[in-house]
């Protein structure tokens, strides 16, 4: 039975909910004075987990959401991240070390805020430097988001049809990236 590993995620980095409309309200005293009549309740976060297997190892990803159906990109993306965790030393045959778990965690949280329910899943690709990139190649578009230890994340965009290409730093250009990903659907 393969040992169950846990994703080494940092505790200090807590993701921001994608929407504020369902954030918990802060009143306390008065909530004890009333009973709501309508069936509407504030949605409650629930803890969920799912196991992924890679190279003979089992990993468990845990997250919180409101119990909604998961988007199609969720499993391939999580599998991609778990595949990074199981890379051994010298995985590239040129002396590369393991991928930095902090970089993986950062990438997980950033991409969560950028993908829509119908977004295509990116490929998760390791870098020999210990970072990773998320990439899409669709409809003549090359889009790569690079996460590494030596600087802020950035994305590179190229349109093979028009020849346009550009590079942008994150999270400053999150909005532009979200809009490009939206067009990949």
């Amino acid at each position: 039975m393969p040992a169950l590993g846990t994703a080494e995620l940092t505790v200090q980095d807590r993701g921001i909910l994608a929407t504020s409309a369902s954030a918990a309200y802060l009143d306390y005293f008065s909530s004890g004075d009333r009973l709501l009549v309508s069936v509407f309740q504030q949605p409650v976060l629930i803890r969920r987990q799912r196991k992924y297997y890679s190279r003979g190892q089992a990993y468990q990803i845990e997250w919180q959401d409101y119990g909604q159906p998961l988007p199609a990109w969720f499993d391939p993306l999580m599998q991609g991240f778990v595949d990074l965790f199981t890379l051994l030393h010298n995985w590239d045959s040129y002396g590369a070390g393991p991928i930095d778990p902090k970089v993986v965690h950062y990438a997980m949280n950033l991409i969560n805020g950028l993908l829509g329910p119908t977004s295509p899943a990116p490929r998760v690709v390791p870098l020999s430097s210990g970072g990773l990139q998320l990439e899409w190649h669709r409809q003549g578009i090359d889009l790569e988001i690079v996460f590494d230890r030596d600087g802020p994340p950035f994305f590179y965009y190229r349109n093979r049809v028009t020849g346009d290409e550009s590079e942008h730093t994150l999270p400053q250009d999150n909005a532009l990236l979200r809009s490009i990903i939206g067009k990949l659907d």
């Binding site: 297997y53 890679s54 190279r55 003979g56 595949d83 890379l87 995985w91 590239d92 045959s93 040129y94 490929r123 690709v125 390791p126 870098l127 020999s128 430097s129 990139q133 990439e135 190649h137 090359d142 790569e144 690079v146 590494d148 950035f154 590179y156 190229r158 290409e165 590079e167």
Partner: protein, 132 residues
């Protein structure tokens, strides 16, 4: 070894094939079964390659570069292509690999890694396998 700086060696001709090992994790298979290399394979500042002419001098075929790496692919780019993207091409022989060389230069930004990849050709295609 990180931190070294390499100068371009003009003795390496423009048409020299620079061989790069490609693990499956850097390969995506499209819907037609074509193996496509990720730009990640070409993003190291000090990018290790094998100089085909040095291997040939020693009687070694190109496939010998992946002899100890079952399942890996082997891709080649030309020295001219690397230099066109402002990279230096230099020999860097190692005790266990006399054909070792380096394509040196910034590759992460400006899509350089992807453009190097665009000029790459398969010498040995990797075999597609399912990860367990």
């Amino acid at each position: 070894m990180p931190g070294r700086v390499f100068e371009d060696d003009p003795n390496i001709p423009a048409d020299e094939r620079l061989l790069r090992r490609i693990p499956r994790t850097w390969v995506d298979w499209d819907e037609h079964g074509n193996a496509v290399i990720s730009s990640a394979a070409f993003k190291d500042e000090e990018l290790s390659i094998s100089l085909e002419s040095v291997m040939a001098r020693d009687g070694r075929p190109p496939e010998d570069a992946i002899r100890n790496y079952p399942g890996y692919g082997l891709a080649s780019i030309t020295a001219a292509h690397a230099r066109s993207l402002k990279q230096a091409v230099a020999p860097d022989p190692l005790p266990d690999e006399p054909a070792h060389g380096v394509v040196y230069g910034q590759k992460k930004r400006g899509g350089i890694g992807g453009k190097l990849r665009d000029g790459a050709l398969w010498v040995v295609r990797p075999v597609e396998l399912e990860l367990s």
